[in-house]
Every structure is written in structure tokens, then in C-alpha cells.
């Protein structure tokens, strides 16, 4: 048995998934409580959709444990919505109700929540992408699941559509539904989610609240000046460097918490040519995400080098 009862709404323990002899998920763990909105972020191929597919029952061949409180069904919108083109919105909802074996449901109320109640008699093939996404969300809400999964629901939507979808997600959450959402739009994630899971190459690099995520990053400075690749080669030898980001005209440097801007300044004067200014930098989620990934890559490279030595 890989699914059992949990105190938290969802308790995912050490999930691994192997494809063609290689692990694409390498021990993912997290807990979700009532009312949480978890944002899963990571580059393409990091295992986000695989993880969601496991949670949604699309993939059953995995290692690890998923504990659900009261063994509820999870409402899911994964990849792009897949409904029947020749059926109307109402018929598609009815179909999902049949699949979920639900006899007591109100199509109009569901469609009202996602704002497509006027399209109730339209065929699925006649809907815009945004409306299709909304229909997918409405279908995932059938049966009042305490948790829904939305895999990149903002994909292909225009800014107005993204904003509308954010409002819908907040509205659904206010109804007491927990949500797991993946997105490449980090600003959206930071606005909508209270918890973040960062995946990279199938590894969980961070799980916690947004505040914890920001505080997990050490002192960060912005270095202005010539930031050539030669510069970064030298910079990577800074003993208290934890991570850095290469931008067009500047770079962002994360250092060990025991050190300060003065230490960075001194090291640069001693080891690099002059012409660099070190200033404090205000982080946004995108910076934090990229710094954490770079930190992992640097650590991985160091470990590999050490093992070769």
C-alpha cells in the first residue's frame, strides 16, 4: 500500500520515479494542510508534471508514500485540458460527474465559480483557451475535493486571462479548497501561493513558505561593472561565495551569512581588477529561484571535484 491516512491534508514522503533506468524524481517530500496554496516551480524537465501525474493517479508506477486524510479524491487539471470536442460544456461536466460517480451536482453553480456559465451550451471545440482552462478547473471542483491540482493553468493565456485566473484561484481557495499549482510565471506564484516547492533535476531544492524561501538566501549583493565569463571564473573562487547570477550588465552574488559587503569589496579589490561597485540588492522570487538553482549546481560541481581528488 502506498496510500494511507494522514493528519495533514496531504503528506508526500520520499516519492521516486524511475524512467529507463534513471530517476526523474529523486525523493520528493512535502506536507500540505487545509487552505494551503502550494506553488511548484522548476525549469522544464525538473519533474513537476511527473510529480503531479503521480498525485493525480496518472502514474501508478512509483516509489514512496502518499498519505491522504480520509482518502479523498484530488481534483485535477493536468497538462492542457482534455475534453470531448463534440460535447457541450454541460455535457463534458456531466461526463466527469459520471466518471467520478457523482449524482448530486449543479453544473450552473460550478460554471459560475469559474465564470463561464454563459457558455454552458457551447461545444468544447468552440471555446477559447482561457475558457477551456476554466472548464478544466470547474471539472476538477466536481465532488467538492479538498485539494485540486492545476498544472500550468496560465499557459497560453493573455495578461487579462492570467489575472482572471488568479482571481478564480483565490476565490476557490477562499472556499476552503487547497491548491497545488505549477507555473513558469514566478510573479504569479509569489502572488497566489503561501508555500513553494522548488524542483530541479528531480530533486527538491526547497520546500516551505515564501518568507522561509527568502530568508533561506544569504546576504545578496549586486556587482556592477564588467561581468565577462572570465570575471565569473575568478568570482567562483571567492571562498565565501554561495551562489551568483549572471545578468547582462551586472551580477547578483550570494555569500555566506557570516560575511558582509565589506568582505566582498576587499576580496574583489585583492583578486579582481578595480571598477566594480558592490551594493545591496532587493530580491524578487525569480532571483531567489535562480540563486538556489545556481547554488545547487556549484555545490554539485564542488562535490564532484572533491570526489575526483
Amino acid at each position: 500500500m502506498r496510500t494511507s491516512v494522514s493528519e495533514s491534508l496531504l503528506d508526500v514522503e520520499n516519492i521516486k520515479r524511475k524512467i529507463a533506468g534513471q530517476y526523474v524524481l529523486k525523493g520528493i517530500s512535502f506536507k500540505l494542510y487545509d487552505g494551503d496554496i502550494l506553488g511548484i516551480i522548476g525549469p522544464n524537465g525538473s519533474g513537476k508534471t511527473t510529480l503531479l501525474s503521480i498525485l493525480s493517479n496518472l502514474i501508478t508506477n512509483y516509489e514512496g508514500l502518499i498519505k491522504k486524510r480520509n482518502s479523498f479524491n484530488i481534483g485535477t487539471l493536468i497538462d492542457s485540458p482534455t475534453f470531448y470536442d463534440h460535447l457541450t460544456v454541460k455535457e463534458n461536466i456531466k461526463l466527469v460527474a459520471h466518471i467520478k460517480k457523482i449524482s448530486d451536482w449543479n453544473c450552473h453553480t460550478l460554471l459560475e465559480i469559474v465564470g463561464i456559465d454563459e457558455a454552458i451550451d457551447k461545444k468544447y471545440s468552440q471555446l477559447s483557451l482561457g475558457m477551456k482552462q476554466r472548464l478544466g478547473i470547474a471539472a476538477s471542483l466536481l465532488g467538492n475535493p479538498p485539494l485540486i491540482i492545476l498544472d500550468e493553468p496560465t499557459n497560453g493565456l493573455d495578461p487579462a486571462g492570467v489575472s482572471d485566473l488568479r482571481d478564480i484561484i483565490r476565490h476557490i481557495n477562499s472556499m476552503g479548497v487547497s491548491i497545488i499549482i505549477t507555473s513558469h510565471m514566478l510573479s504569479e506564484v509569489s502572488q497566489a501561493c503561501n508555500k513553494i516547492l522548488i524542483l530541479y533535476q528531480g530533486i527538491s531544492l526547497f520546500f516551505g513558505s515564501i518568507n522561509d524561501l527568502f530568508s533561506s538566501v544569504g546576504p545578496v549583493f549586486k556587482l556592477s561593472g564588467n561581468t565577462s565569463s572570465r570575471f565569473f571564473k575568478k568570482l567562483s573562487k571567492m571562498p565565501f561565495l554561495k551562489s551568483y547570477l549572471q545578468k547582462k550588465d551586472y551580477s547578483i552574488v550570494e555569500i555566506d551569512g557570516k560575511y558582509s559587503a565589506e568582505d566582498v569589496d576587499k576580496w574583489i579589490i585583492n583578486n579582481l581588477s578595480s571598477g566594480y561597485s558592490v551594493v545591496e540588492h532587493t530580491l524578487i522570487l525569480e532571483d531567489v529561484f535562480l540563486l538556489i538553482i545556481k547554488r545547487f549546481e556549484l555545490n554539485y560541481a564542488q562535490t564532484k571535484m572533491a570526489s575526483l581528488d
Binding site: 496518472l58 502514474i59 501508478t60 493536468i78 497538462d79 482534455t82 470536442d85 455535457e91 456531466k94
Partner: protein, 266 residues
């Protein structure tokens, strides 16, 4: 039973609104009545070399046997329909809608299998009704007589048409694309399986049965497949057992392979 009812309603909702479903239904009904009707019209043709056979073919109770065998050919239209609906789910990934909403792969297989059962029931019912129609039209023999072996013949027809449709479902699952699967099914059904059955030098009856008669094309040619229930009813001998075994072997193998292929599409 409750689960089967939900699965049946789900399939009904999808298929009842489909234009393709209506086209297949009309085509099948036309052929299912048209084919025996054309042959019925030829029964008094003096130039027909099967005249002697046809004179008796539409009288009670022989008409059950005649129509039972003839209905196997239009049943192939429904085999193509099964390929179509299986491939549509795979091509448009609509099967995922079921998986993410709590169904498992066995349910997926079951839902299509239920369609097959319903269709094979409809084929059998249609064959029975056609037999009555043509029997009444002929009225040359005793009025409506049916023997136990004719009832068995209809049971065999139902199992056989379900077997053919399962076999078609395998094509759909394997090739995924409806056009490709239907084309290859027709090529196989029309030519390849007969070539295999006639080329491989097995001893009789293995040459006919394991490779040929239980597959659609050869089965229509060889109506003795309809006797597969005889060993149960009369006496078991090795020759009949081979036929009996091979028919069920293909059906069970088809069920297993369909289920296996569904599991592969995760």
C-alpha cells in the same frame, strides 16, 4: 453492477452525441438488413449456382443459421467502429480525463468492453429479428419453429462478434491512429490472415483453426466455427476440442493484451 452502470452511462454520453457514431450505426443497419435481403432476392434466380442451397436457406428454422452466418460480415463495420472509438481516446488523450478523475486502467478497458458486449448483443438481436422477418417473408416451411441448436447458434454469434471486436480493439490499441489501424485491420482481415492460415504447413485441423477460423475473415468463410459449442452439447472429441479451445484462446489472449496495452499508455 453500480460501477458498470456508471461506465455504461459514460460511454453512452460520449457516443450518443457523436455524428460518427450515427454514421456507423446507419451503415451497419443498412448492411445488416441489406446483405441478407440481396441474397434473399437471389433465391429464385435460375442462374444462381447456389440455387439449391438458397431455396432452403430462408425457411424456418434454417433461416436462423443463414442469417446468423450472414450477419458476421456487417458486424465487421462495428469492429471498425470499435477501432475508431479506441483510437479517438488515445489520439486526443481523452482517456486521461478518466484517469485523473479516479478511474483506473481496468475501468478504461471495461468501459470499451461494455460497448463491445452491447454491440454484440445488438448484432445478435438484429440477426434474430432479421431471421423472423425473412422467415415470415418466405413462409414456405412450418411457421416459426426454433430448435435448441439455433439458440446455441445465436449465443455463438454473440461470442464470436464480441471476439472479433476485441480483436479489432487490439489493432486500435496497438496502432493508436484510427486511420492506420483501420487500414491495417482491413488488410489483415482481407488478405494476410488467410495467407498465413493457408501457407503455414500445419496438420489439419491446426492449419484452419488456431490461425484461421477464429480470426474474422476465415471464420466467415468457414461456418463450421459455429459448431464450437458442439463438444459441450454432444460429445467431446479431440477435433472439436481444438476448435473450442482455439476460439477461447483468442478471446482470452485479446482481453489480456488489451489490458496490457492500456497499462502501457500511462
Amino acid at each position: 453492477m453500480r460501477k458498470l452502470r456508471w461506465l455504461l452511462w459514460t460511454e453512452w454520453l460520449i457516443l450518443s452525441k457523436s455524428v460518427v457514431c450515427v454514421i456507423f450505426a446507419i451503415t451497419w443497419l443498412t448492411c445488416a438488413f441489406g446483405l441478407p435481403f440481396i441474397i434473399y432476392l437471389q433465391r429464385n434466380d435460375p442462374n444462381n449456382r447456389f440455387k439449391t442451397l438458397l431455396e432452403e436457406a430462408f425457411t424456418f428454422p434454417t433461416v436462423f443459421n443463414t442469417i446468423g452466418v450472414l450477419e458476421l460480415l456487417p458486424a465487421q463495420i462495428l469492429s471498425l467502429f470499435i477501432i475508431y472509438i479506441v483510437c479517438q481516446d488515445l489520439e486526443h488523450k481523452t482517456y486521461r480525463l478518466r484517469l485523473i478523475n479516479g478511474s483506473n486502467r481496468i475501468d478504461l478497458f471495461l468501459s470499451k468492453f461494455i460497448v463491445i458486449i452491447v454491440l454484440s448483443f445488438l448484432i445478435t438481436l438484429n440477426a434474430f429479428l432479421n431471421s423472423l422477418i425473412f422467415g415470415y417473408l418466405e413462409m414456405s416451411s412450418s411457421f416459426f419453429s426454433i430448435r435448441f441448436k439455433d439458440v446455441v447458434l445465436f449465443i455463438v454469434l454473440a461470442i464470436q462478434s464480441a471476439g472479433f471486436m476485441l480483436y479489432a480493439m487490439l489493432f486500435g490499441l496497438f496502432f493508436k491512429k484510427a486511420g492506420l489501424a483501420i487500414m491495417l485491420f482491413l488488410v489483415w482481415f482481407g488478405a494476410v490472415e488467410r495467407v498465413i492460415a493457408q501457407t503455414i504447413n500445419f496438420n489439419y485441423p491446426f492449419q484452419l483453426y488456431p490461425l484461421g477460423s477464429c480470426l474474422p475473415g476465415k471464420a466467415i468463410e468457414d461456418r463450421t466455427i459455429l459448431d464450437i459449442f458442439r463438444p459441450i452439447l454432444i460429445n467431446i472429441n479431440s477435433y472439436e476440442s481444438v476448435k473450442w479451445f482455439s476460439a477461447f484462446f483468442w478471446i482470452i489472449l485479446s482481453i489480456y493484451l488489451c489490458n496490457f496495452l492500456f497499462k502501457k499508455f500511462e
